[in-house]
Symmetry: C2
Subunit: 391 residues, 2 copies
């Protein structure tokens, strides 16, 4: 049977993941600053083994059964307790999801008809753009600087009546920018004024290396913000557990959307993660992971300082996993990737993070996965390549 | 913020799960034949504990990392080996999913535009109808008898140009009917003739109590059938691992749809299930589970024979978890459920399994979860109720 004329409009909007095609072209021995994956060494294997061995058989059977779509109640109560007291969050506001990717998918399902607009920061998470595109979203870009989204650009976007704003205030993927409090407050105020909800995607919030935590958009606007968090970066992405916190009316629709998608998240991995959140283990784990990436970031910034020509612009990120680089405008980072891959070094071209055609001269480097030696050698290769093309 | 005028057409098509509302109204002490959940006692707790303790730390870290969307390769190879040799299935045809519910969702995403038709057996899985409705599906019902879908009704449905056929040939939910080989061949032949693919949903295939296995639709038509299987009924639904097997062109689109939905299934639970599929454990487990439900079925059929008035029609299912009952036509099983719940006995009214308004006098009884004593007492209560209303 020939399937090609059977597919839906949504299917025809789905593209194979662009970052994956970079992985597919890597030769053995390539040093990769491309993936946003956590480091293997941070996964708490011993804790999981001990928790499994210690688990009461009856509790384990419960975790292996179907559960309610909303998720394991003690985990939802734990999530609610993590949210600021002022938000009056309870387990009723919490939906357990398989990670922040699913938050974006469920928001698309609940809010978007084909042709609806979504306001997104420029640049933003490429997987978010792909998923929202499947729902037929048209994007309105919001300009950013080193302190986050520009309020005047937010307002201009809201005047185009988007269905929601999608943003990553903490250590934005891909730029690593930490949105300042004044900007966060301005975005929430504008969202209220224009009655446009916000999806706050927060996979990196715990990975702060400098300064005090800034209030989340949800803390500033629990009436208009859907917050997405995850265990993927600080614990293990392979467990597929994250959470949404939302105003009740939105949360109920998101739960129905989750139910029609896949019924529920694994009760088994939810149970193991809830266990890890007890007796202070998760806080110790987060402190370890944060320390690890802090060292990684410092290694990378030292290498960049040492090897990159002065024409390459970058900002030291105060959190997260990424450094965003701008090459001189005449240089196309997508074209340059071909040569980089030939020289066994990989990064993600910045254009992938834009809904529009922008960012040709930008690229994202991840410091999460490479060893100290790889960081040094990889940045040396990249610095040489940049110096050659800048001339 | 008032969200009510923000929701998408899809969101407005989502209804809270009807079966759940039955659970919500149950008083303590209710004997329930409603849920299609596996029995807690069948979950292999000891095996999981042993496999976790024995897992190599490096393998465990790999399972906790992000994986490719397609799933854990050894598991996909194992799935491919389970399919008939004649189908020439390889790991390239396999997409790991979180369960059969997700198969339905991904098929909706890949094949349906709002208003497209889907041909479904009448009755069929209520969760399938809900999920496909979210995509704006219009249903064309296919009439069934005790041997499955009627070929003339399949052909009439195909003449209305549905995007695909959705069916459960093995021990159909809710009727327990096992489609005979001739009917299966006829459905595949017609699907080819009309160029309409089939989604074959097979959660219950391993739970056969009588007769030899019948060829799957996928075995008969690997070019036109998307097959969905799961570990949920024979191992543990809380692990959220199932699989799709599909012609390459369809599989690639289904993989992209999975990627935009939730990236991947838990690598951790995939790894544990792959381990369970080694050294004959899974076959032993399936034999145990099958034996357990066989005994449960027999207890239920004995109780029905003993307590139900002769006006109630039913067929002894040769597999699965359900008995389908027909009351005299004048009796409405949905209305009767109110009285049943007052008397602390629960079932699922048959209308929920129809896309149309049919089946008012039908109901589904599950024998998966109740104890022997509950089966006896529950059927006695139900039999008395039926006798009263039949008069």
């Amino acid at each position: 049977m020939n399937f090609s004329n059977h597919f839906s409009d949504a299917a025809n909007r789905m593209q194979p993941a662009a970052i994956r095609s970079i992985f597919n072209r890597m030769q053995p021995g390539t040093i990769s600053f491309a993936p946003g994956m956590p480091a293997f060494s941070t996964f708490p294997v011993e804790r999981i083994k001990a928790a499994t061995a210690a688990m009461d058989d009856e509790a384990m059977r419960q975790s292996m059964q179907y559960t309610v779509t909303e998720g394991y109640l003690p985990l939802r109560e734990w999530v609610a307790r993590q949210m600021p007291v002022s938000t009056a969050t309870t387990a009723d506001n919490v939906q357990v999801i398989s990670g922040c990717q699913q938050a974006i998918d469920l928001m698309g399902r609940v809010f978007l008809n084909p042709g609806d607009k979504v306001a997104v920061s420029a640049p933003t998470y490429t997987g978010g753009l792909s998923t929202l595109s499947v729902y037929g979203a048209e994007f309105v870009e919001i300009a950013c600087d080193d302190e986050g989204m520009l309020p005047e650009s937010v307002e201009a976007a809201l005047q185009q009546s988007p269905k929601f704003i999608y943003c990553i205030p903490n250590f934005m993927n891909p730029t690593g920018v930490d949105m300042c409090l004044e900007r966060r407050q301005a975005v929430v105020d504008l969202a209220r004024q224009y009655e446009v909800p916000i999806l706050e995607d927060d996979p990196y919030g715990e990975l702060r290396y400098k300064g005090d935590p800034v209030a989340s958009l949800y803390e500033l606007g629990p009436d208009c913000v859907v917050y997405a968090g995850t265990f993927s970066k600080v614990f293990a992405p392979g467990f597929r557990v994250g959470w949404l916190v939302a105003p009740i009316e939105a949360k109920e629709r998101l739960t129905r959307a989750k139910q029609t998608s896949d019924l529920q998240v694994s009760g088994y991995t939810q149970r193991l993660l809830f266990d890890a959140a007890q007796d202070g283990f998760l806080q110790e784990q987060i402190a370890r992971v944060r320390g690890y990436y802090y060292d990684q970031r410092n290694l990378m910034m030292e290498g960049i300082d040492q090897y990159f020509p002065p024409e390459v612009n970058y900002v030291t990120p105060s959190g997260g996993m990424f450094v965003w680089c701008e090459l001189p405008e005449r240089i196309d980072a997508t074209e340059l990737l071909e040569t980089a891959l030939d020289r066994k070094i990989a990064y993600v071209p910045g254009t992938l993070f834009y809904a529009s055609d922008s960012g040709k001269n930008t690229l994202r480097l991840s410091f999460s996965l490479a060893s100290a030696q790889e960081i040094d050698e990889g940045l040396k290769r990249l610095g040489n390549l940049f110096a050659e093309v800048i001339g």
